[in-house]
């Protein structure tokens, strides 16, 4: 009688911390610990993945929405530096529909354990290693590693299908970059079928233009073994690119390059952040945020529709709800709650959330940070400047 109910194993293990994973049996871990120090004042109080982008989004909305749309329902977010806003932002999984029974977005900062004191993550691989128990509790077959600070739309389920099809031990997403820039990237050299034969970190003389996007699918059992060994290795820098991938190649494992074609941008500097925003004005840039089959989800801000006043002049702009515009806006991206008053001129500019441009002010080729006020008749930025001006503090105007 009592061999009974097959549910036993599942129920029991669930209670003790092993959970059921749906659909593709793949768990995602997003590395979101970067300081993003080249983003300067934008990352003083905000980790880079939480930086605002595209009017209403934050950068980390992209990997999280990609996960939701790819049928992945459990996502760990590895945070470290200045993470209170990032932590509380991603904690509200309902923003990406990741709050169903069986889903979740889990913030995973370094932590104190029974056998170890509190310490920072030592590298990308170490961040995963320190959370082996979390991953084990879901018993996934595949582990997807993502970076929290890239802007792109990608179906990870298709990448998993590729991974399975090739019976791969690990699959790495790659993107073609201009050959002359290839030496700035980690480059994958593959055979004609796409199997990786060599990996070179920032090669002086690159043999291929396939750059690693920092997106990996591993068979969890294999990776787990490698991580346990890597943790104990005093010579390791505990990094996927520097340690884990080379080890796999040395061990003769089957690594495959999954070639991604589409928009992909690392917004590491003020200029590239500005550019990525400007790309939204160009229908040909390849980044379409309006595709109903692949929406990017974000915080649901309580804001009125855009109010366009009687004096407004808007030409080529990307504007979101909560904005109030009664001046001139040209080739610009306006984030939630930004304001352009009568007589003001905003050109080739990004106004981050809550930025205010007062009457008569002129703003050109600038990125105005959150809640910064440009005073009346002030002049900011220069149409001929090489770099974009970051305006991180209020600018006093003339009354």
């Amino acid at each position: 009688m009592y061999t009974a109910y097959k549910m036993d194993v599942h129920e029991i293990s669930k209670e003790s911390g092993v959970h059921f994973m749906s659909q593709n049996n793949m768990l995602a871990m997003i590395l979101a610990g970067g300081r993003g120090s080249r983003l300067k004042d934008l990352t003083n109080k905000v980790a880079k993945p939480a930086v605002s982008y595209g009017g209403k989004y934050r950068i980390i909305d992209f990997p999280l929405s990609n996960c939701a749309n790819s049928g992945i329902n459990v996502v760990g977010v590895l945070t470290q530096y200045e993470s209170v806003l990032l932590n509380s932002y991603v904690a509200q999984g309902r923003r990406w529909g990741l709050d169903s029974n069986g889903s979740g977005v889990f913030v995973l900062p370094p932590r104190e354990k029974a056998d170890a004191d509190l310490d920072v993550y030592r590298g990308t691989a170490d961040a995963i290693s320190q959370n082996i128990d979390f991953i084990d509790s879901y018993d996934p077959e595949y582990l997807l590693i993502l970076s929290g600070d890239h802007i792109y739309k990608m179906n990870y389920d298709n990448m998993l299908a590729f991974h399975k099809e090739h019976n791969a031990d690990a699959t790495i997403a790659v993107i073609g970059v201009p050959m002359k820039e290839a030496s700035r990237f980690g480059i994958m050299n593959t055979d004609e079928n796409g199997k990786i034969v060599e990996f070179e970190e920032k090669p002086a003389e690159p043999k291929s233009n396939l750059a690693s996007m920092g997106i990996y699918i591993f068979n969890w059992k294999l990776l787990r073994k490698l991580l346990v060994a890597d943790m104990k290795n005093p010579d390791s820098s505990h990094d996927f690119g520097k340690d884990i991938i080379p080890t796999l190649l040395n061990d003769g494992k089957s690594l495959w390059a999954y070639q991604f074609k589409g928009y992909w941008k690392d917004v590491g500097t003020i200029d590239s952040l500005w550019e990525a925003n400007m790309d939204l004005l160009d229908d040909k840039s390849g980044l379409n945020l309006e595709d109903p089959e692949w929406k990017i989800y974000t915080e649901d801000a309580s804001a009125l529709p855009q109010y366009i006043g009687p004096n407004a002049q808007i030409k080529t702009a990307f504007i979101t709800q909560g904005c109030k515009i009664d001046g001139s806006v040209t080739r610009s991206v306006l984030f939630t709650g930004s304001v352009v008053k009568p007589g003001a001129k905003v050109t080739d500019t990004v106004l981050m959330p809550g930025a205010v441009v007062e009457e008569g002010a002129v703003v050109t080729r600038a990125l105005v940070a959150n809640n910064v006020k440009i005073g009346p008749n002030a002049v900011v930025g220069d149409a001929n400047s090489e770099n974009i001006e970051l305006v991180a503090k209020n600018v006093k105007g003339e009354e």
Binding site: I308, F318, T320
Partner: protein
């Protein structure tokens, strides 16, 4: 501390909005681009700490059921609270039987199980903000049996003709509740909003049913004003009714006026709705937009003036849109010129080149229509 549950009523059987109402109940009508009318009473209740809300629906429940599918969107705790859709069997024999009293009676076993001492009843077809907690405290402090919310207006001769009015004595006691017949401009428009004890409410419903099957709650209370202490409380701030096509059209355009918007939307009183996850709106080089409310997800290449544009609307090159309420996912084609129109969802105006109404007689373009 007094506790209340909320009831949001569907429109009475004498209120009809030809066209739009064929597709959804009035509460599900789009408002100010990104809201639906019912977002206002629900947000009022949610912000007042009322997390047990019954919404009555008579016809075409789908859009309302979907909109209200998730309590969380309205900041209601799904464990402690409940946003419950209650359906009423519509007598197709004669619509006069489909009263609010009939709907309450049909769901009486659910009402009777509520643990709260008071009930607050608000309509799904009026737009205003009101702190119901304050209203409830006022009601309790006054000792009245029933408190009715009203709005004093000075243009009742030609407006609010489907609404009831309150006749009040000096002490704000209600002398009568009667249909506005347009006899005078100064009137107290009854906002179809009630506060009373749950038990009184239950007994009113039961008594009304005994006397006549076509009594409405307001009619029955009107017949009881001599026996009960019924009082009016004045509402301040923006107030609009959605009780006929013109009032719907005008209320939408109202919100373009900053003063109206300011008296409806307040700090710390968010109006919740369900997000559609639309991207920001793209304005192209040819765009010309003035004095308008524009929702997210639009693509604008034409001219827009004094209009309310819903989510995901496409306005093509050379199109002219003036004094219009354009609902979500519609398309105004190349060189099309429309004025004083309500364009319902998913409509496409591409072949017709000019559709011009007047502010007095705005036009209506049906859902999914291709013109």
């Amino acid at each position: 501390m007094a506790t209340a549950f909320g009831i949001i009523t569907s429109s009475a059987n004498h209120i009809k909005i030809a066209g739009m109402q064929d597709y959804r109940p009035m509460g599900a009508f789009s408002f100010a681009g990104r809201y639906r009318v019912i977002d206002f009473p629900i947000s009022n209740m949610s912000n007042s700490g009322i997390d047990n809300i019954q919404v009555y629906v008579r016809e075409n429940p789908r859009s309302l059921a979907e909109h209200l599918g998730n309590e969380g969107s309205f900041n209601i705790n799904s464990k402690k609270g409940k946003l419950q859709l209650l359906f009423s069997d519509n007598s197709t024999a004669n619509d006069v039987y489909n009263t609010d009293i009939a709907a309450f009676a049909e769901n009486m076993n659910i009402i009777a199980r509520k643990g709260q001492e008071y009930v607050i009843i608000a309509p799904s077809y009026m737009v205003y903000t009101q702190d119901y907690n304050e209203l409830l405290e006022q009601h309790v402090a006054s000792g009245a049996d029933i408190t009715l919310l009203y709005h004093h207006v000075n243009n009742a001769k030609e407006n609010y003709l489907h609404c009831d009015t309150l006749d009040l004595n000096k002490q704000k006691g209600v002398l009568s509740i009667e249909r506005n017949t347009g006899t005078a401009n100064a009137k107290n428009i009854f906002m179809d909003t009630y506060v009373m004890k749950r038990d009184l409410f239950i007994s009113l419903v039961r008594e009304a049913q005994k006397l006549s099957s076509i009594y409405t709650l307001s009619q029955f209370i009107n017949s009881e004003v001599n026996d009960l202490d019924v009082r009016g409380v004045a509402h301040r701030g923006y107030f609009a009714t959605v009780t006929d096509f013109k009032s719907y059209f005008e209320a939408n355009l109202d919100l373009i006026d900053v003063d109206n918007a300011n008296s409806l939307f307040h700090d710390n009183w968010p109006i919740y709705t369900v997000t559609s996850d639309a991207a920001p709106t793209k304005y192209y080089e040819q765009a010309e937009v003035r004095n308008s409310l524009v929702s997210n997800g639009c693509s604008i290449k034409g001219l827009v003036e004094n209009s309310v544009i819903g989510r995901g609307v496409t306005i093509e090159d050379g199109a002219i849109v003036k004094n219009c309420v354009v609902l979500a996912y519609s398309r105004i084609g190349k060189d099309v010129h429309i004025e004083n129109q309500v364009v319902d969802k998913w409509a496409q105006i591409i072949h017709a080149k000019e559709i011009i109404g007047t502010p007095e007689k705005p036009g209506y373009i049906k859902r999914d229509d291709i013109l």
